[in-house]
């Protein structure tokens, strides 16, 4: 470069480059503290699945020496790879939480192979022996909490009709519906659960219509398995029905109508993970649990829940925590009259057969197809 022609613009460019170098230096210095990256598929204040994870992230933020970086609405495509790489390379994250089911294969697997020193914790429970060792997956048996919700719902219903607004008939959803119904039948053997599938994870108008149709049928306690339970909770409460929440505590939306709910307990799990890492322990690559392992929890009871219901629900909760009770214990018939779990069979929490569930049990009104 001809020095006589250094213009003001060149000087500014040089200055900017220096400043940039400075900030990068500062960043590496900061990286002495642990940076953790969170990736959400939707909006993190959706009163649902993503908010549950964001609450877990918030619990980590409170710990000293921890920096949390977050990105919302990252689709389950190449986009998540770019987000992970930028969290690793630009923010210096050493632990990543890609929280959506569809992120795992091939995206997390690919990036985990590329960065063997970074730890990846994927929510969804898809890890197998073939996958990289620095990646792991965790998930919770939230049907245990749905079972407790079912007990409370069974006591609270006057008509004996419960409603379930569900997205799609996949095993996880069916397991929640069945566990909810088993709980309800424990409290009220005549109780039935009417299920409506809306067809997708976020369909507010359909969810509102489903809620109204169920209530028109005489249903007086509703719960759901969709991404954002807000629509169901608000519309059901407006019509004077009770609700059991899902994903997070929705009682602020309907304080009078809210009975209890099945919540994720990521704010207990994530600090646990961090402790394992800092103490040099390795996190199991395949991590699962329910109420006992504090991966799921039940919302505090609403004021409308009777003392009898509280007592029974607390009792069963204690039994589940101690591992003394099996929810899916034969004989269980499906709603077409076929035996799906034989008389002497107990399918415990971790039974892989339950992950293939494709039936609705006796007492559920609805069909999987």
């Amino acid at each position: 470069m001809d020095f006589s022609r250094i213009s003001r613009r060149h000087l500014l460019q040089g200055g900017a480059a220096l400043a940039l170098g400075g900030t990068i230096g500062a960043r590496t210095a900061q990286a002495a503290e642990t940076t953790i990256g969170f990736i959400y598929v939707g909006s993190r204040d959706d009163y649902g699945y993503n908010q549950a994870h964001a609450q877990g992230a918030a619990a980590l933020k409170k710990l000293p020496g921890i920096k949390v970086v977050e990105e919302e609405k990252v689709p389950e495509t190449d986009a998540v790879e770019k987000t992970m790489e930028s969290m690793i390379n630009l923010d210096g994250s050493t632990l990543l939480f890609p929280t959506s089911f569809g992120y795992f294969s091939p995206h997390v697997v690919k990036i985990a192979n590329k960065y063997p020193k970074i730890r990846f914790e994927h929510c969804g429970g898809l890890w197998t022996e073939k996958d990289p060792k620095n990646a792991g997956s965790y998930f919770g048996y939230i049907d245990e909490a749905q079972f407790i919700s079912g007990i409370v719902a069974g006591y609270s219903t006057k008509s004996g009709k419960l409603g379930f607004v569900a997205a799609k008939p996949i095993p996880q959803v069916l397991r929640n519906i069945n566990a909810f119904t088993l709980g309800a039948k424990l409290a009220n053997p005549k109780a039935t659960t009417q299920v409506i599938f809306t067809g997708d994870w976020s369909m507010p108008v359909k969810e509102a219509e489903a809620t109204n149709s169920l209530i028109d049928q005489g249903v007086d306690v509703l719960t759901c398995h969709v991404d954002g339970p807000k629509t169901m909770v608000e519309n059901a409460a407006r019509r004077g029905a009770f609700v059991c929440g899902y994903h997070v505590n929705q009682s602020p939306l309907a304080p009078k109508a809210y009975l209890t709910g099945a919540e994720w307990n990521w704010e207990a799990l994530y600090p646990k993970f961090l402790k394992m890492i800092t103490s040099g322990e390795s996190i199991p690559n395949f991590y699962r649990g329910g109420l006992k392992e504090e991966i799921v929890k039940c919302s505090p009871y609403g004021e409308a829940v009777s003392a009898e219901a509280r007592k029974h629900a607390d009792e069963m909760k204690a039994k589940l925590v101690l591992g003394e009770y099996t929810i899916f214990k034969g004989p269980i018939l499906d709603n077409k009259g076929k035996t799906v779990i034989a008389a002497s069979v107990e399918r415990g929490q971790k039974d892989p057969e339950l992950e293939k569930m494709d039936y609705l049990i006796e007492g559920v009104i609805g069909a999987t197809s």
Binding site: G42, S43, D45, D46, Y47, K73, K158, S159, K161, Q194, V195, I196, F197, T198, G199, S202, M203, P204, V205, K206, E207, A208, E209, A210, N212, S213, L214, I215, D216, Q217, G218, D220, D227, G228, K230, T231, E234, N235, R238, R239, G240, L253, I365, G366, A367, S369
Partner: protein, 308 residues
């Protein structure tokens, strides 16, 4: 609610209730689009306008505590987006369909961006008028809890029908839509007419959005519209640019949207995906029955870029 089951009667009742509850956004967007298209322009951006309207209505209602101010804000937001569309389209050789798609993406993106802090709070909602007081059946009462916006929409349709036929500005809009040369020869500015028509269309679409967030389903979230704006634009073609037909078509679409959940609730569970698709099947069927290769669609304004 003791012994509240009314069995199979739920289905017609839910379809009626759904027609009233779900149809309002369709109605407002399609009436708005009807005005715009009659002036010779297509505004495909109404999906974005609808979502922006929903977001701004919710935000203003939350901040001021008055849902009616929210409705007004939604209308104004819609009119501004309409003005933007018309402004860009008045430049030479600009394609209104392409601008519409761009504005649709712009509107949705902007609404999601600005609406981020609004997902959690609960805003005051629009009141409902209880038209079911005469009935003891709670289901009937619930179905007949009607929002004023729906009534306004129902009133606008015949007024618009009459206005297109009998008023000066209605005829002017039609002239601009049928032959811009004729309008120009009469000494009117076609661009100005279209600007106004697009703004009014946007205003109505914005109000349609406010219904979504302030009445039914009644809160702001990002999946709120799920394509209702686009459906309503298609509905105008389906309704042959006739405001009265827009009303019936909107009611049919609203009722059809309630059909899937209602049938599942009474135990008709097979093929619920098919019932959920009912509105679209209905559209396709009518399109196939009425289309002809020999002529353009009856009622289509001659200046529309899709018919020209």
């Amino acid at each position: 609610m003791a012994d509240a089951s009314i069995g199979l009667w739920t289905v017609p009742l839910a379809v009626l209730g759904g027609a009233i509850r779900v149809s309002t956004p369709f109605l407002f967007v399609s009436l708005g689009e009807c005005i715009t298209e009659r002036s010779g322009r297509i505004n495909l951006g109404l999906e974005g306008t609808l979502v922006m309207g929903a977001m701004s209505a919710y935000g203003v209602s939350y901040l001021t505590g008055s849902p009616w101010l929210g409705v007004l804000a939604a209308g104004i937001t819609g009119a501004l987006l309409g003005a933007l569309h018309a402004g860009i389209c008045s430049l030479p050789r600009v394609n209104d369909v392409a601008v519409g798609i761009a504005l649709m993406l712009f509107g949705i993106g902007l609404a999601f961006f600005l609406g981020k802090p609004l997902i959690e709070p609960t805003a005051p909602r629009l009141p409902a008028i209880d038209f079911g007081w005469w009935s003891d059946i709670p289901q009937v009462r619930a179905a007949l809890r009607i929002n004023v916006l729906f009534l306004i929409g129902v009133a606008i349709a015949p007024i618009l029908y009459w206005a297109f036929k009998a008023t000066r500005w209605g005829l002017l809009i039609r002239t601009a839509g049928e032959s811009s040369d004729a309008a120009r020869a009469m000494g009117h500015s076609v661009l100005l007419i279209r600007l106004r028509a697009t703004m009014v269309g946007g205003f109505l679409a914005g109000i349609g959005g406010s219904f979504l967030s302030l009445f039914y389903p009644g809160s702001w979230n990002e999946g709120l519209s799920s394509g209702q704006g686009i459906t309503a634009v298609a509905l105008v073609i389906f309704a042959r640019w006739d405001p009265l037909l827009c009303l019936w078509a909107s009611l049919a679409f609203g009722g059809a949207a309630a059909l899937g959940p209602a049938l599942q609730s009474v135990g008709v569970t097979s093929g619920y995906h098919l019932f959920n698709a009912a509105p679209y099947i209905l559209t396709l069927a009518i399109m196939i029955i009425t289309c002809s290769p020999k002529r353009t669609l009856t009622g289509a304004p001659a200046e529309l870029s899709i018919t020209r």
